[in-house]
Symmetry: C2
Subunit: 174 residues, 2 copies
């Protein structure tokens, strides 16, 4: 891995920012350099949310993602907005619960029914982002150990187990 | 306030990332749009750490800070590195416990003995970042109410009170 640029996008309240923070932290635990950015507005809940993570073995010069290597889209709107900024040979991960129309693309595509699975497993949509995180870390090559430590350190021990279970499910589905 | 670009810099372990996250969140609670970025490396503890926050009433186009309006420097090294990227009429906030040599500058300068005060008040350096946060939010015009809510939501209720006390001390010293 030289440098990987990741964009995670969805709606406010879908855990996009938390997923990016945990991914960034896990990559640091795996010995990488990381720049992690989140954008949010006053009306974040329900409106668009975006988190970007640049992961590199070397120092990171330009700190903003332009064309991403990996795009995770948790809403149809997010896919429609950011697919054009995914590199041609990139990797696309979608939550197929919400993303139904995927334009023709050369990107390697993973359809994860993250929200459905989260509801089925835990009775709560809020763990869908952990399933997406599982698919993301597997694609990028971030270790399970580093990610589970990052989940604990970011979300706290109390809720770590359920989130780790959702994360591992996401890995198994991708 | 049209758009304010803030850079917080210091050493890993000084709470630079947490300060940026709380500032970003507080600004959102105050109705602003925010892009918040953190950079860290594998050896974050002890090496350089940096957090950037762009706060705007409008949508934020370019997501990276170039020349900042405000610079908070918690280490001498951080000041030496980033002072040249502070706008001429900007605001400089330093932790005067660590930053002893300030080159001549036209920036409005606040010297906050943040680490000394944190040790005196709580017997622990780790609250120094909250004193810096106090000075930052006062300078930028982010409300006490929004910041205290952001402290609670970011750090958790258990440790909120002591952090809020440190934060208010930082406001009173600036």
């Amino acid at each position: 891995m030289k440098k990987i640029e990741v964009r995670i996008s969805g709606l406010g309240g879908q855990g996009v920012v938390a997923a990016g923070q945990i991914l960034g932290r896990a990559a640091v635990y795996d010995g990488k350099n990381v720049v992690q950015t989140q954008s949010y507005g006053a009306e974040a809940r329900g409106s668009a949310a975006k988190s970007e993570v640049i992961i590199s073995n070397d120092k990171i010069g330009f700190p903003a993602v332009r064309k991403s290597d990996v795009l995770a889209a948790i809403s149809q709107e997010a896919l429609d907005k950011y697919l054009k900024d995914l590199k041609e040979e990139g990797v696309l991960i979608v939550d197929s619960t919400y993303v139904k129309k995927i334009p023709e693309t050369r990107a390697k595509t993973y359809k994860i029914p993250a929200t459905e699975e989260a509801e089925r497993m835990f009775g709560a949509k809020i763990y869908a982002n952990m399933l997406i995180l599982g698919a993301l870390t597997k694609t990028i090559g971030i270790s399970v150990k580093a990610t589970e430590k990052a989940i604990e350190d970011t979300l706290g021990k109390k809720v770590a187990d359920i989130n780790k279970e959702a994360f591992r499910k996401g890995r198994s589905l991708s």
